[in-house]
């Protein structure tokens, strides 16, 4: 990586100042922080108050109103702002600059989902030194606000869980006029800063915000993507086993990124989850500016336990922190996703296999690859086009020399239910003869440079470019309108890839936009940088919704993201290398994205830069069939890499791997439904499935597929034919390939020759699959199901869950879906429907009468000769017996879903 192009904390003025504060505190343990409490009161679910701080020179007093609000879903919100900027009594050299601090929650719509809900909040005690409030629907949560020094402690059942400002690092840099600046302030980076020869004029001066957050008795914390690091976050205080730099959240186009680094990558979600046995808590720091997070471990209150102390600081914006007390991880995800937006329920095709490459160079090339998939009998759903399809990289146009008839190409793909996805980036070629550019400039929808008057001009793929200002609602709507079929010559099976939306600026500071560029409303780029990509996707999403007349679910792939982007798009983790290290690093990255809300995530198969040897190629496919987002992609300078090009035996191995993915489409789709409904990740880290087993809390090289019971440990080292997989309990696990049983807590050796990815089905689960492999995912809509019952060792039972709908439209919101619960116990398989909301449409239900279970496999009950099937639909019970053959298979049990 080009490390020198990206800032270290020492090189980021505000980070340096906040880290210096932390150092000062460690050396002055009696120090009580910068702020004194001026006033505080509690009323109707909100604690309100004002902090005050003296100027450095002692001449002025600065006031900071704050609140602690009790919200729905047992969430607490801590907010703080600056009175003078709120009231607009500040003066900047540029009149165009807004005076307020940026509030990401307002911009992103979180406020609409963060209603105060004081009904369950009760003031228990108020003294001259503290305030105690009990809250939560179950009455188990307590918050204790200590006045001096200021501290907020969150307790569950009387035990401290999260503590704010224990180290008194609360910070909000007050407004000061530029005329008052001192050489010392200059040296501290409060004013003009230069990095890598790029100048930041910093017209508003210092405005950073910071806070320390402690997770008491929690030794493991996770989240704050996007970076390639371990799942359980490492310390950032110069530990031998950790880092010397804080985790960074500043979306950048990181070229050939490092594995095992806290360096920021393409997306930013300031969400952190802490876990200890059977207990989860989390915080969400709603801020769109550059953010750094220090992580330190210290002794916990229990013997042999650890607490984690974190320090968060952002360059600008308000302090807006949400606290989730669990106690279960599922509670955290429900509450957090209810706030930022539930992850999307993607169209079915998008969880199939995507074939991409920079660049398929012509219509003929596209259709040849499409035909070859049929010839070699491999399924795939989507083929992709990178920037070369556009005439001179002018997006929304086609290079007619190579793509003369895009609609005809799309029609041919559509005849087999396949899709095309094309890249469209938010940088627009500065060209008066290009309609998008002309409109963007004529309508004044472009980002401005620091003058606030001229358009921000810089280089990206098309050369000199201007950028869409998505903070202008009109610009957003205009951008969305460009996707109409009459504006962009396309058809209904064309979907969108928005790349370079960090935004990436060639030869810009840190390969991105100058922080003093000006956006609509007078915001500096500094204030909104980490959500620029999200706003871009929001514009695209709304445009595609409109294109589909509100009926069709869009698919968008984004590189940059923030909290809430998962409601709109999938992401991929950027420009991987074709190495075993990057293959290994992709797994914790995808897991981290998943628990932070960006569940629909994957890595380029089999690495973006370089040419993999056959072994790495096949192993990467073994891993990738278990990424939520499964796409092959490679750099333009690499060799062609379609899955048949390595010849036999590798072609057959990859074909079989693709078939595993397609067999499991019902499993994946159900996992996405659970994600959409509850905010759960698609892939469950070990700690999520076994919250009591401490040995698994840091494991990040194996995972579960949703709650299906499938435990996967990909092979990520060369020259291996067996692998050790960790079992967290004494349950029996069945090898999905040959039904071999594994039991006993601890490490088990599983065969893993090339092409055989280690997958175990945990006892107690029923796996619901479709064994008929079609050319594309949508073509499976009428196919029967196979149930695989893995009988548990303890209790001798099993259960499973299936969700299905048309996979294309939003009609599931009108009841056009089916939910079926399967359970097995004592030789009885029960299938029942669910009383879910909205009610199932009878018309839709009737249209699915042909759906059936064609086969039932039973693992773990060798001696059983027959079972009873009990079908419960609309409370009507039907029962019949079916026979089990010698291999544990039930042939055509006459079980229909409706």
């Amino acid at each position: 990586a080009f490390r020198h192009q990206f800032k270290t904390a020492e090189q980021d003025g505000f980070a340096r100042r906040n880290r210096d504060l932390a150092k000062f505190q460690k050396e002055n343990l009696n120090w009580n922080g910068l702020f004194q409490l001026n006033s505080i009161s509690y009323n109707s679910g909100v604690v309100s108050g004002v902090f005050e701080q003296q100027s450095e020179n002692g001449e002025n007093q600065h006031l900071f109103p704050f609140s602690i609000s009790f919200l729905k879903n047992d969430v607490v919100r801590f907010q703080m702002d600056e009175k003078s900027r709120l009231e607009g009594t500040v003066e900047y050299e540029k009149n165009i600059l807004t005076k307020r601090r940026f509030d990401a929650s307002t911009e992103l719509g979180f406020n609409e989902r963060a209603e105060v809900y004081g009904k369950d909040a009760h003031l228990l005690e108020q003294t001259s030194t503290s305030l105690t409030i009990r809250y939560g629907s179950h009455g188990r949560f307590t918050v204790i606000v200590t006045f001096s020094p200021f501290k907020v402690e969150f307790q569950r059942d009387g035990e401290p869980q999260v503590v704010l400002n224990e180290r008194h690092l609360l910070n909000m840099e007050y407004y000061r006029p530029k005329s008052s600046r001192t050489p010392e302030q200059e040296a501290n980076g409060m004013w003009d800063e230069t990095f890598d020869n790029f100048h930041d004029s910093k017209p508003k001066g210092p405005e950073s915000v910071g806070l320390d957050i402690k997770f008491v008795d929690y030794g493991n914390v996770y989240g704050v993507p996007e970076h390639t690091s371990s799942l359980s976050l490492k310390e950032t205080n110069n530990s031998d086993a950790g880092y010397t730099e804080p985790y960074r959240l500043y979306n950048v186009d990181l070229f050939e990124y490092e594995v095992d680094s806290p360096m920021s990558q393409y997306g930013a979600i300031p969400f952190m989850q802490a876990h200890k046995p059977n207990s989860d808590v989390a915080v969400f720091w709603s801020n769109a500016a550059a953010t750094w997070i220090d992580v330190e471990k210290e002794s916990g209150p229990s013997p042999h336990s650890q607490s984690t102390s974190t320090h968060w600081y952002s360059e600008s914006g308000t302090l807006d922190l949400f606290i989730f007390l669990g106690p279960k991880a599922s509670d955290v995800y429900e509450s957090y996703s209810a706030l930022v937006g539930r992850p999307l329920l993607p169209p079915l095709f998008s969880i199939g296999y995507h074939q991409c490459r920079w660049n398929y160079v012509s219509e003929e090339d596209v259709l040849n690859v499409d035909a070859k998939f049929d010839e070699v009998d491999m399924p795939y759903d989507t083929i992709w086009l990178d920037i070369e399809y556009a005439s001179k990289r002018r997006y929304f146009t086609w290079d007619k020399a190579t793509f003369p008839n895009p609609k005809a190409m799309l029609e041919k793909l559509d005849s087999k239910s396949r899709k095309l996805i094309v890249i469209l980036d938010p940088h627009i070629k500065n060209d008066p003869n290009y309609f998008v550019s002309k409109e963007l400039i004529d309508y004044n929808y472009a980002v401005k440079d620091k003058s606030g008057v001229d358009n921000y001009n810089a280089d990206c793929w098309p050369g000199n470019s201007v950028w869409v200002d998505f903070f202008n609602p009109e610009a957003q709507a205009w951008w969305g309108s460009l996707y109409e079929f009459d504006r962009f010559e396309s058809d209904k099976n064309l979907w969108i890839w928005n790349d370079m939306n960090e935004p990436s600026v060639f030869r810009g500071p840190e390969t991105s936009m100058h922080r003093d560029a000006i956006h609509y409303g007078g915001w500096e780029h500094r204030d909104i940088h980490n959500i620029y990509g999200h706003k871009c996707i929001n514009g695209t999403y709304n445009g595609l919704i409109k294109r589909g007349e509100g009926a069709v679910r869009p698919f968008i792939l984004t590189r940059s993201f923030f909290a809430g982007t998962s409601a709109l798009a999938a992401n991929w983790i950027g420009d991987t290398m074709t190495t075993w290290e990057h293959l290994r690093g992709s797994i914790p990255t995808v897991l981290t994205n998943g628990i932070s809300g960006m569940a629909f995530s994957g890595a380029d198969v089999a690495g973006f830069f370089g040419n993999p040897d056959a072994e790495l190629f096949v192993r990467w496919y073994e891993t990738a069939i278990f990424y939520p987002f499964f796409r092959a992609h490679a750099h333009i300078d690499t060799k062609r890499r379609e899955p048949w090009l390595y010849g036999e035996p590798y072609t057959s191995l990859v074909r079989e791997l693709l078939r595993i993915r397609y067999r499991l489409l019902p499993t994946w789709y159900t996992a996405f439904y659970n994600s959409h409904t509850h905010g759960f990740p698609i892939l469950y880290p070990q700690f999520l499935m076994h919250p009591e087993d401490e040995e698994g809390f840091a494991i990040d090289d194996q995972f579960y597929v949703g709650d299906s019971g499938l435990l996967v440990k990909p092979v990520t080292h060369p020259s291996i034919d067996k692998i050790t997989i960790y079992l967290a309990d004494d349950e029996v696990y069945f090898d999905l390939h040959d039904h071999t049983e594994y039991a006993g807590k601890g490490h088990q050796v599983v065969p893993a020759p090339l092409g055989r990815v280690p997958v175990l089905l945990r006892g107690g689960n029923i796996l619901i699959t479709r064994e008929r492999i079609r050319r594309a995912a949508e073509l499976t809509r009428n196919d029967p199901f196979t149930l695989t019952i893995a009988v548990s060792k303890i209790g001798k039972n099993a259960s499973g869950f299936l969700y299905l709908d048309d996979g294309v439209t939003f009609n599931y919101k009108k009841g056009e879906y089916l939910i079926r619960h399967f359970s097995y116990e004592n030789g009885i398989l029960t299938m029942k429907d669910s009383h879910s909301n909205p009610p199932v449409s009878p018309k839709y239900s009737s249209s699915q009468k042909h759906l059936k279970v064609e086969r039932i496999n039973i693992y773990g009950e060798q001696t059983r000769k027959s079972i009873k099937i009990r079908k419960i639909i609309d409370s009507e019970v039907t029962e019949w017996d079916v026979s089990v053959d010698d291999s544990g298979c039930i042939r055509n049990p006459q079980l229909f879903l409706v």
Partner: protein, 483 residues
């Protein structure tokens, strides 16, 4: 007969139950109830029990396609709501329109157009083949001419070789016979000279003694001036003589050295070729003569001003050398002719893939695509504007490979694969940079036309007449699709 779905009529006999109502899988010994055939559940490992459903992932479905061409499709395309058989028989969940008649019309029109194109292409190809044959005849004539020249030159070489060999033998014989004798005579002469020198030395000693006695007896005042002058001159000479004295040992050493040199020359070694022997002899003789001359001068026998005549090349040797030069020239000429002979033979025998190679070598085809002008030169090179994409390397069927083009900025050398299809003129159809710096070029040319490309209609207009062709159809299905 009521055919099973997905089974060709001529194979329906394979799908009949035995007396017990059972049926055996076609590719294995597994026995199942006949009721299980086409029951949408896969029982046979080879998929043969479900020819008409998608239950088996490895089955094959027969499309009757009455009016068009029967074909097989993979079973995993049955009942997937995509119409693959033109008669729609692969879909029972949706209604597929029967497009067989339309496809048949399109097929016949395409077939007719294809055949017309092939015929026209073949006509042009015949012209090129004739032209190529003419050029081949020219090459053959050239080959014959070279062959004849080669025979003549070979004969000349043989003759010259014999002559040289003969001269070598005669010269060798002469040398072997004569030289030792000459050397012996030379030794005798040398010994005589030494004897003469010794005798003269004795006389000189006597005279010296006489003069010494005279000097002892004379009294300067009693002799006349003439006598006095003579005595003084003698004394001067005596001093000079002492300085110029050469020892007898030196003489013996010189003689021994000369004798050794001469001994080496009396019996030539088999390892020495005649030419080198002559050269060595000349060198040694010159050295010997020079040494002898120096010795004689040192001994005072020979005046330093005496000139010497070096040995000269014999006339026979000069004739030999001339003959050898002629032979070498003949050999060189033969070699050159053989090289061209081999080249022409190779050119005549080597199969370049196309029999009209000579007619189209160097033929240029140009087209502008994507802002670049591409130029394909048959059997020479391919250019993109002025960038060399490759030089001709090999041909395999109708695929020409050009390699080692200009180097890419960060990658391999450029290369191009030109796939040629039958056409009525040379035309570049498309250029695809499928991978960085690797260009796939599609061309049309009469050169790629072949009579076996002419196609007969495969339509099955009757229910049974053409069904026997279905087995063969599997292999030809792709060629039908290519029409």
């Amino acid at each position: 007969a009521n055919d099973l779905r997905g089974v060709a009529s001529d194979k329906s006999d394979l799908y009949k139950p035995d007396a017990k109502g059972n049926w055996k899988c076609l590719g294995s010994d597994k026995l199942i109830s006949f009721n299980q055939v086409n029951d949408d559940y896969c029982d046979c490992p080879d998929g043969s029990d479900e020819p008409g459903t998608s239950a088996c992932h490895n089955g094959k479905f027969f499309c009757k396609n009455t009016g068009y061409i029967s074909s097989y499709i993979p079973s995993n395309r049955v009942d997937d709501t995509v119409c693959d058989c033109c008669d729609g028989s692969d879909e029972s969940l949706i209604k597929c329109p029967n497009t067989c008649a339309q496809k048949a019309r399109e097929y016949l029109a395409t077939l007719e157009e294809h055949n017309r194109l092939v015929k026209n292409g073949l006509k042009i190809r015949e012209q090129w083949a004739l032209e190529s044959a003419k050029k081949t005849d020219e090459v053959k004539a050239r080959y014959k001419e070279i062959s004849d020249s080669l025979v003549a030159v070979s004969a000349e070489k043989t003759q010259l070789s014999e002559k040289v060999e003969k001269m070598k033998r005669s010269t060798d014989l002469g040398a072997e016979a004569v030289l030792p004798l000459d050397f012996q005579d030379l030794r005798v002469a040398l010994l005589s000279l030494v004897d003469e020198r010794n005798e003269m030395q004795e006389r000189l000693d006597i005279l010296t003694n006489l003069l010494d006695e005279l000097t002892l007896l004379y009294e300067t005042d009693k002799f006349d001036e003439t006598m006095k002058e003579a005595i003084l001159s003698f004394e001067d000479l005596k001093e000079q003589e002492i300085r110029r004295k050469v020892s007898s040992d030196d003489v013996h050493n010189y003689l021994e050295s000369c004798n050794n040199h001469l001994s080496m020359l009396t019996g030539p070694s088999e390892d020495i070729t005649f030419s080198s022997l002559i050269k060595d002899i000349k060198k040694i003789l010159n050295s010997l003569v020079w040494n002898i001359k120096l010795s004689l001068i040192n001994f005072g026998i020979l005046s330093p001003s005496a000139s010497s005549t070096p040995l000269t090349d014999s006339e026979s040797y000069r004739r030999f050398e001339a003959a050898q030069r002629d032979l070498d020239a003949a050999e060189e000429n033969e070699k050159s002719l053989e090289k061209e002979h081999t080249k022409l033979m190779h050119e005549l025998e080597y199969h370049h893939g196309w029999d009209l190679y000579r007619a189209i070598k160097g033929m240029e085809t140009k087209r502008e695509i994507g802002g670049y002008t591409y130029k394909v030169v048959f059997y020479e090179n391919v250019f993109q504007d002025s960038i060399l994409l490759g030089n001709f390397a090999s041909q395999e069927g109708n695929v020409l490979k050009y390699e080692n083009g200009q180097s890419c900025w960060n990658g391999p050398h450029r290369s191009a694969i030109v796939t040629v299809e039958c056409g009525v003129e040379n035309e570049i159809v498309s250029v695809l940079e499928a991978q960085k710096c690797e260009y796939l070029i599609k061309m049309k040319s009469p050169a790629a036309c072949s009579p076996d490309q002419l196609k007969q209609s495969l339509l099955n207009t009757q229910n049974s007449a053409n069904e026997n062709a279905v087995n063969g159809m599997e292999d030809k299905e792709s060629s039908v699709d290519e029409l």
